[in-house]
């Protein structure tokens, strides 16, 4: 077992975790994450515009009459999330290269706006079409932000910059420093989007279409779920590794579902990030709320009893590192099995429920520390059936965790008895010399 674990860690989970720390991937992840507060804010207005109340209530009627106005805050945040993400990617990537992050963020936005193009209308003069500023434009944004910052970096490395005489104040000199790379970046963008009039968005669309389609199938949802718990089994933050790669796709689903909800259309995608957050990761990665409940039901060992008490409240708010490292689940051959099985089972159940229409798909992003039933209710725009599904998933996870926990708990009990006996012996032998301090070591007796 140990050799096998070492093998996996060395050749599989280790290198993959390193890959997720690759500078570009990390910058994209941090860029997407930096936009989450704006997405959450915009989400609120999606709920107000489609309130989960009977259609004949006055508030519902008012909301429907004023939907365009109510959705303005949504249109300026979640709807154009890619604009914010672009700045975030450019900023983070520059930061990791230790070049001026503000220039990196700004020039990324400028390069991205070149891909949007300008339209003119009689009523408003010149306008920016907003559609590609949303989730739709995310992959183009990733490309141009990375391109922009790489040019900045190259110019800095090769010292392609305007040198000012020493008498010039440094702040003035710095503004000229960024000039040449910015001229190159925006010059290239001008050639592509103005001179050749190429639509980068429709080109990239064709390339990513299979990924977008595949990620929403039953395989597309179960594979990341498996990988996330697989990484956690080694004690590596699975979401931060797997999410680094797949999160942009999930964000596209969320954006598209949000757009559909805003215009009263059926929701096109099953599995935005919120699908996993509220229906699968109940209590944290591995759906460990079920384990904690199983601990409450059947814990015999002192260790499990005190762990159950210490981890219950954090688990309700989906924080489960104390469970994962405390029990531990990490490298624990007994608990890893349900830890990997449970999320796969609840993923499949939820996927089926959403596709056959038993539960609404998700399109609202709520803070991930909310208790799952509340989060699921909000994420589905107020579908009460989502609460039932969450409760069913909790029950299922408890049932699957229970037998495995019992086996592990029996081992703990045996170890505790062994320790007590040996302690007694020691006490009997040494009562005359020194009082024995009971072991206060908090480690899992393993």
């Amino acid at each position: 077992m140990n050799k096998f674990v070492a093998f996996l860690e060395k050749y599989l989970s280790g290198p993959m975790a390193k890959l997720s720390e690759q500078q570009h991937i990390r910058a994209i992840r941090d860029g997407v994450v930096s936009a989450l507060p704006f997405i959450i804010f915009g989400s609120i207005f999606l709920i107000i515009a489609n309130p989960p109340i009977p259609e004949n209530w006055a508030f519902y009627v008012w909301a429907k009459e004023n939907i365009a106005t109510i959705l303005i805050p949504y249109r300026l945040t979640m709807y154009i999330m890619t604009l914010y993400i672009t700045f975030g990617i450019g900023y983070s990537l520059s930061q990791s290269y230790k070049i001026d992050a503000l220039s990196g963020g700004l020039v990324s936005i400028a390069a991205f706006l070149f891909t949007i193009g300008v339209q003119s209308t009689e009523e408003f003069g010149f306008v920016l079409p907003m559609a590609n500023l949303g989730g739709h434009g995310l992959f183009v944004a990733m490309l141009v932000a990375v391109f922009s910052v790489e040019v900045l970096r190259l110019c800095k490395q090769k010292n392609i910059t305007i040198k000012m005489p020493e008498a010039v104040p440094s702040s003035v000199a710095r503004s000229f420093e960024a000039l040449i790379p910015i001229v190159i970046i925006l010059g290239v963008m001008t050639v592509i989007t103005v001179v050749f009039n190429l639509d980068l968005h429709s080109m990239v669309d064709k390339v990513v279409a299979p990924i977008i389609k595949g990620g929403d199938t039953i395989f597309g949802v179960t594979i990341p779920v498996f990988l996330i718990t697989f990484f956690w089994a080694f004690g590596i933050h699975g979401m931060s590794v797997v999410g680094a790669v797949i999160r942009p796709v999930w964000e596209v689903y969320l954006a598209k579902n949000g757009e559909a909800a805003a215009s009263g259309m059926p929701l096109p995608y099953v599995a935005p990030e919120t699908f996993f957050q509220w229906f699968v990761w109940i209590g944290g990665a591995g759906a460990t709320l079920g384990l904690v409940i199983a601990m409450f039901i059947s814990a015999r060992s002192k260790y499990s009893k005190s762990m159950a008490k210490a981890t219950f409240i954090p688990s309700i708010f989906n924080i489960n590192e104390p469970v994962i490292f405390g029990m531990p689940i990490v490298l624990n051959p007994i608990l890893i099995i349900p830890f990997i099985i449970v999320p796969l089972v609840t993923t499949v159940i939820t996927y089926i429920c959403v596709t056959v229409g038993l539960v609404s798909a998700t399109y609202v992003m709520a803070p991930w520390t909310l208790p799952a039933p509340i989060g699921a209710y909000l994420a589905t725009g107020g579908d009460w059936r989502a609460i039932i599904l969450v409760l069913v998933n909790i029950a299922i996870s408890t049932i699957i965790y229970l037998p495995f926990f019992k086996i592990y708990d029996r081992q703990l009990v045996a170890q505790e008895q062994l320790e007590e006996e040996s302690l007694k012996e020691v006490v009997e032998e040494t009562t005359e010399t020194a009082p024995i301090k009971p072991s206060t070591d908090g480690n899992a007796p393993s």
Binding site: D30, E321, G442
Partner: protein
Amino acid sequence: MKVLFVCSGGMSSAIIVNTLKKEAQKNGMEMEVLAVGTSEFPAEVQNGWDIAMVAPQVRHRFNLFKESADEANVPIAQIPPTAYSPLGGPALLKVIQETIV
């Protein structure tokens, strides 16, 4: 003593912060402990900490954290997985003492 924890979002280590504080109190030590997320760490570590501790779930980023910590001349250590638990106070304190000495 000032101890800085870093984990993915600064959430889970907040629980461990309390565990360590209690353990320190038990031992009559004065300890200031703060938990931050990975993105806040490079800036926060500059603010005069005695030691930085890396949560086990982000240990694959240890080298990145170490770079920032070295710049700020702050000793840095990994939290052993078994100590990263609400009952891991004594083990945590031990790692800190070993690292600083």
